[in-house]
Amino acid sequence: MEKRLFIGLSVEAPWPHSYPKGRMLEENGRHITLAFLGNVKMPDFKTFPKPPFQLGGAALASSVVFLPKLKPRVVAYQIDWISGKEEMIAYRQELYRWLEPQGYSLDQRPFHPHLTIARSPFVEKDWETHFHPLPLIVTGIHLYESIGNLRYPTLFSIPLIPIFEEFEHTADIAFHIRGRNFRELYAHATLAMSFDFSPFLQYQKEVSPSTLEEVVQLLNQMVSSCDRDHGCPFKAVSYHGNVQEEENWMTWEMVVDV
């Protein structure tokens, strides 16, 4: 039996509480499509390519777009990768190499990742006014089925390790931050804090710190600027904790005084 299938990335984000008019996708069904298979027979799961990476990566929904351009039916966020871009592109190519010999007809246009958020009817201007950049983290790779009414159950999943996870702290907030280098630790820590307070994101800098102390100092400079300009729920990022070396990445226990 044929099903309407696609392979995509599940994401988490600090989704806004309200949106302009549109038929909204459920939060847990929002995804970034890697390969659209169409109405086809199920692929062979046994040979589904395993990604060579375990960390999920991070991205920024940087603008709102309406697709297709000529007669838009979809409101989508354009995706700019913060980390994991090269790995994700390479993995997509590997998926294509796996799918094409099986006879699937795949979109050959260049990969412009986006995240569908709503379908028509909608008013473009309202969405443009409402839009604010949104941090995203990738949590898994899935084979999705489209069953109509904007519902996308998953048929097969490969979970990825999130680039940050909040953990319990008695008085403040605390996260396990993961990254392959200090640049990623800094970027991912910024993202974790932006999930809590989105204006924080705009203070992120293009920098490549080389020590954890530099990471902490950079984050605290962001806290200072944010507090001066907007007010900030974070007092400071503490110097607590060291970097733990894992298999292919580092984990840092970040504690933020609030």
Binding site: E168, N220, S224, D227, R228, H230, K235, Y239, H240, V258
Partner: protein
């Protein structure tokens, strides 16, 4: 697991292990110790005991929980010649503290819509929550910062925000000497520029309620506190100004290598006698004076709200006391001058302490213990216990993490729940309220029982919240 030996009611000794220069002293009951994970904060008590120049014990209060370097609810006394001063022993929110005032009215005056009107008016006058700074007021100038350094809380009073009498009812008369605006970075000054007179977010609040129970009626009478009166409790600190002072110092101390060999970088400290140590003390004192002014201005605005809504004149709202609970101060204990770090701990001088005004010198100083926004807060009297360098607890202490609290209240109408408990809550952020719900905290009644059993402070009055503003 730490081995603790009970040495007195609600008082446990943590024996001195290798690396510790003094033993630990834990003020708590067995019941309290079972309520939260004590291992991490006790590790911090042990770490603090290893700091150079520490005297007596590394002390933990019954509201102890995990902090940065030092536990929150920790006290450490340092010898001024051989000891160190640590920003982690003071905390980011320098001179975070509490002030209590009494209003000569009963709950009846808040009946009907008056309570909500008052709450709304305070919410208008006192900015609270993230990003709510002073929009109408001009920002602080360099001259203002110099005057804050020179005069402490008198700066606000001389600008028409309070009465000279208020100063007699503030710890250290609202003024820490040695404050120096030159010791503070421009970044700190810019963060503080529009933050005087603002509550902030997190666990800071303005609370109005009823004096519900008197435990020492004659003492309460001397202080002018009567059963059934309204009270006002303000909890805030030095805002972004103080946070930046702490951050700047931590960065500087670590860059200079003071963190080497420490079990936790957040314990980083400099010798009190060093230029770096003295520089921090001057900057910290500046932030402490900023915080005294912050609470003074908040009090002024709340007095204004009472006048606008209930016609109560500002001078009728009497300040009982203002205490610091994040600070390092030089004090004399049993004839010895010491630098006392209190992080999440309150000074609790008993009768006879020279610094106190004549009334409190006779009775002992008021000790303010905010609990949670549903159950109670407490007014206590200091007993001047030398074992803790005249220190007591600073609150109930959290029992649940912020995530746990948010999770457990998700999808429920928290404002309605509080209303049904008889407490009207107004806040900029519903999330803050969810994080601060009463069950996120230990039962303050049990905490003050421990404090009383350990003879740090005695219960004077139980205060029941009715109107609460959160950040």
């Amino acid at each position: 697991m730490f081995k603790l030996k009970k040495i007195a009611p609600a008082t446990y000794l943590m024996e001195q292990e290798a690396g510790m220069l003094v033993p630990g002293l834990i003020v708590a009951t067995e019941e309290i110790m079972k309520q939260i994970d004590f291992e991490k904060p006790l590790e911090q008590v042990r770490n603090v005991a290893s700091l150079p120049g520490i005297v007596g014990h590394s002390i933990a209060m019954p509201d102890i929980h995990w902090g940065y370097g030092f536990p929150i609810g920790g006290v450490a006394a340092m010898d001024p010649e051989t000891g160190v001063i640590s920003p982690g022993g003071v905390g980011y929110d320098i001179n975070c503290g509490v002030r209590l005032a009494i209003i000569p009215e009963s709950l009846k005056s808040l009946e009907g819509s008056m309570g909500d009107k008052l709450l709304k008016r305070i919410f208008e006058l006192v900015p609270s929550g993230v990003g709510r700074g002073q929009k109408k007021e001009r920002g602080l100038s360099d001259r203002d910062y110099r005057e804050i350094a020179q005069f402490g809380a008198r700066f606000a009073i001389e600008n028409g925000k309070g009465f000279a009498e208020d100063l007699e009812h503030i710890e250290s008369k609202g003024f820490i000497e040695d404050a120096d605006p030159e010791a503070v970075s421009d970044v700190a000054k810019s963060r503080g520029q529009k933050q005087l007179g603002t509550i902030g977010s997190g666990n800071h609040f303005v609370e109005i309620g009823e004096v519900e129970t008197l435990y020492q009626p004659s003492l309460a009478k001397q202080w002018g506190v009567e059963k059934g009166q309204l009270y006002l409790l303000i909890h805030s600190g030095s805002r972004g100004f103080g946070h930046q002072v702490c951050q700047d110092t931590l960065d500087d101390f670590l860059a200079k290598g003071y963190g080497k060999g420490l079990p936790d970088r957040q314990l980083v400290s400099a010798p009190i006698q060093s230029e770096d140590g003295k520089h921090y003390f001057r900057a910290m004192s500046m932030a402490a004076n900023f915080a005294f002014n912050n609470r003074q201005i908040i009090l002024h605005e709340v007095r204004k709200a009472f006048h606008d809504v209930l016609g109560i004149s500002p001078e009728q709202i009497r300040l009982i006391y203002d205490v610091c609970h994040n600070i390092a101060k030089f004090e004399t204990h049993e004839g010895r001058r010491l630098c006392i770090h209190r992080k999440g701990a309150t000074r609790a001088y008993g009768p006879g302490a020279e610094e106190l005004n004549p009334l409190f010198r006779k009775t002992g100083q008021p000790v303010l213990v905010p609990g949670d926004m549903g159950r109670a807060s407490h007014l206590m009297v200091g007993m001047g216990n030398p074992l803790t360098f005249c220190s007591s607890c600073h609150g109930a202490g959290r029992a649940k993490s912020r995530i746990q609290s948010k999770r457990s209240w998700k999808g429920r109408d928290i404002f309605d729940f509080m209303q049904k408990q008889g407490v009207s809550v107004m806040a900029t952020s519903g999330r803050t309220v969810a994080e601060e719900m009463p069950d996120a905290y230990k039962d303050v009644d049990r905490v003050v029982d421990a404090v009383e059993d350990a003879k740090l402070a005695g219960k004077v009055a139980r205060l029941k919240p009715r109107l609460v503003i959160k950040g």
